[in-house]
């Protein structure tokens, strides 16, 4: 098997196919401090791509409540189980087993197959099970005494996809032009090897069409220079889609590179799978570190320090860039923060959006002597 290099875990691994990095790699950053679980992204995706028969419980984009929400049931617990007890990081290098290392005899990688009903309860009772707090409790310190957070998930369009590795019919492919991973519906025979293989459980079987289907990265939009539906509809403006460079070709003015490689504030989800997933998360600051390290690896401490510096106003460029989130439907290939504005540019360096870091505002005095009234907190 060819050997490939995974920069997220800083080590080589065996992958069934020769690998050449795509010309561009689809990537997304999500700021988990801002998601409010409104599910607008889920519905935008659903109405765009999966309103058909056999797709009733198919969510290419889902938002689950951590730690007790899952879609499908227990996906991350099963993943951690599969990788076993020795998921060890030495500094930034992962020395534990990847999915390829835990392959049983006769298979390419460690898998588990969800049951039909594991998919059947998205977002049911997920918040309610979180720990209650006593009346009068004040949470002023981080991490919070009681905590939960929302985790939006799409297909990670992995650099070394488990779904591609697992498909015996070679029906799944990674596009060389943008790294988007697609299932060819004509070659798929519904063997569901990808469903069992994808540790993020983002390949889902359609029992009516009898093929597996998955997030297509809104490729028709991306091809035209627009961000996917889940990004452009996001109410919390937590998302930014773009393209990530490998670490030896980082462009600091590329928004995704800046967040992931330069500031290292956005981290991959369960990088220990070995797949090099390309959705990157800014970890939520109120959650205990041990939980976050388990999810996002050892980069969590640095990411949170940087994020908190930003909150104190010490990272103006980062703060500026976060204003680009949700400010344009177009894909920003580069950005600049100047004079209180963040500017996004397209592939050809043409300006596509300019956002003020502080919205213009007017201050009016509390008391209005002319009308002899006291203003309440109204705009």
């Amino acid at each position: 098997m060819p050997t490939v290099y995974n920069w997220q875990i800083r080590r080589e691994l065996d992958y069934p196919y020769e690998h050449e990095r795509p010309k561009k790699q689809f990537a997304m950053v999500m700021d988990l401090n801002k998601c409010i679980a409104c599910q607008t992204c889920t519905i935008a995706c659903k109405t765009t791509w999966t309103p058909g028969r056999g797709q009733e419980y198919m969510l290419w984009n889902n938002v689950e409540t951590k730690p007790y929400g899952f879609y499908p049931l227990g996906w991350d617990v099963k993943l951690l189980d599969l990788l076993g007890d020795s998921q060890k990081w030495v500094d930034a290098t992962y020395e534990g087993p990847t999915l390829f290392d835990v392959a049983p005899e006769g298979d390419t990688l460690g898998k588990w197959m969800p049951d039909e009903y594991d998919w059947a309860f998205p977002n049911v009772g997920e918040d309610e099970v979180s720990e209650p707090v006593d009346v009068g409790t004040v949470m002023e310190t981080l991490p919070h005494l009681a905590w939960m957070f929302y985790l939006p998930r799409i297909c990670n369009h992995c650099t070394y996809p488990a779904c591609v590795a697992a498909c015996p019919r070679k029906a799944i492919y990674k596009r060389p032009e943008d790294g988007i991973v697609l299932i060819d519906p004509e070659r798929c025979e519904g063997y569901q090897e990808c469903v069992a293989a994808c540790p993020y459980k983002k390949s889902i079987f359609n029992a009516v069409a009898r093929i597996s289907q998955k997030c297509i990265g809104c490729f028709p939009k991306v091809e035209a220079g627009y961000q996917p539906q889940c990004v452009t509809t996001c109410i919390g403006r937590i998302r930014l889609q773009g393209f990530i460079s490998p670490p030896d070709q980082v462009r600091p003015d590329n928004p995704i590179d800046f967040l992931v490689h330069v500031k290292k504030v956005a981290l991959p989800l369960y990088p220990q799978t070995g797949l090099e997933p390309n959705v990157y998360y800014i970890p939520p600051i109120h959650v205990p570190r041990s939980f976050l390290r388990q999810m996002f690896g050892p980069g969590v401490d640095h990411a949170l320090r940087t994020y908190e510096r930003m909150r104190r106003g010490e990272e103006p460029e980062l703060q500026g860039l976060l204003h680009l989130f949700g400010s344009t439907e177009r894909i920003s290939h580069s950005f600049r923060v100047v004079d209180g504005e963040v500017i996004g540019f397209d592939e050809h360096g043409r300006e596509i959006v300019r956002v003020p870091l502080v919205e213009p505002y007017q201050e009016r005095p509390h008391e209005d002597p002319a009308l002899e009234v006291v203003r309440q907190d109204i705009p």
Binding site: P51, R53, G54, T108, E116, W119, R169, A209, R210
Partner: protein, 285 residues
């Protein structure tokens, strides 16, 4: 991973193994038609051969422990068609291919070139094989109506399907071009609504199997008393498509694969006969 080297080594072994004197299956001539029904009396008079099956352990994913270990095979010809009858014991009847559950199936493989040197690992580039694949889930569609949501989950509630009218008569409603798009388009529609439980596939090595443009093979499977009985019938020469070099008075080879849905078998996870078996087709007297 060692599997590729292993595959090569095994391929070499299997190419050699068929050189052992192997009893041939005779497709006896019968003038008045080849019954599609596996329970037809005619089949009682046709000699049968036992083919021993082993788990597929050449390429991943594999079957390390075969749950079906033998299948009885018979064959008949009327000079134009050939019919195989395959009978095997399977304690679980799996007629659906749904989330995490798989269908029982059986396939007969014949090389295009009538030689036992064609790699039994589904051929090789330039060395094509024909695979006639019967599946219980397709039989179920034909016998009891398409396995749609309402059939799989009679109590399912769903408010609205775009571009489909009530009652949603799928698969017929897939002919609506909008609805078609919602299940992945024309080809998928065709694959899912074949009027036969047998699909015709060609392959030139593992992972290359592809549906033929022309799908005319027929079949019928019946499950009774813990056994599947399946008949697969095809013309030797179908028009407007490629065909193996076989026919009345000729000798070629075949082998069989069986899938046990309950054991998680699908695709490469199958049990198969690892040696080509000579197939002698009787000519009309």
């Amino acid at each position: 991973m060692a599997s590729r080297t292993l595959a090569l080594a095994l391929a070499a072994v299997f190419a050699g193994s068929s050189a052992l004197a192997q009893e041939a299956l005779k497709a006896a001539y019968r003038a008045d038609g080849l019954p599609l029904d596996p329970r037809a009396d005619v089949w009682q008079e046709v000699p049968s051969m036992t083919v021993t099956l082993e788990g597929q352990t050449v390429t991943e994913p594999m079957v390390m422990e075969a749950s079906i270990t033998e299948v009885q095979v018979q064959a008949l010809t009327d000079g134009r068609d050939i019919a195989f009858r395959l009978v095997w014991q399977d304690t679980t009847e799996d007629r659906f291919q749904v989330v995490g559950r798989f269908s029982d199936a059986v396939a007969v493989m014949v090389p295009y070139r009538p030689s036992d040197e064609v790699p039994i690992t589904m051929g090789a580039p330039g060395d094509r094989v024909l695979i006639l694949h019967w599946a219980a889930f397709r039989q179920e569609n034909l016998d009891n109506g398409y396995a749609d949501v309402t059939k799989l989950h009679p109590n399912a509630v769903y408010d609205w399907y775009p571009h489909a009218k009530k009652p949603y008569r799928y698969p017929e409603d897939w002919r609506n071009q909008y609805a078609l798009a919602y299940i992945g388009g024309e080809k998928l529609f065709r694959k899912n609504t074949l009027n036969t439980p047998v699909r015709e596939v060609v392959a030139e090595g593992f992972g290359t199997s592809t549906w033929k443009d022309v799908q005319r093979a027929e079949g019928k499977g019946v499950y009774a008393d813990g056994s599947w009985q399946v008949v697969i019938r095809r013309r030797f020469v179908e028009e407007n498509t490629s065909n193996p070099d076989w026919g009345p008075g000729k000798r070629t080879f075949f082998t069989v694969a069986v899938w046990d849905g309950s054991a998680g078998d699908r695709g490469g996870r199958k049990t198969l006969g690892y040696a080509w078996i000579p197939l002698e087709v009787e000519a009309a007297p």
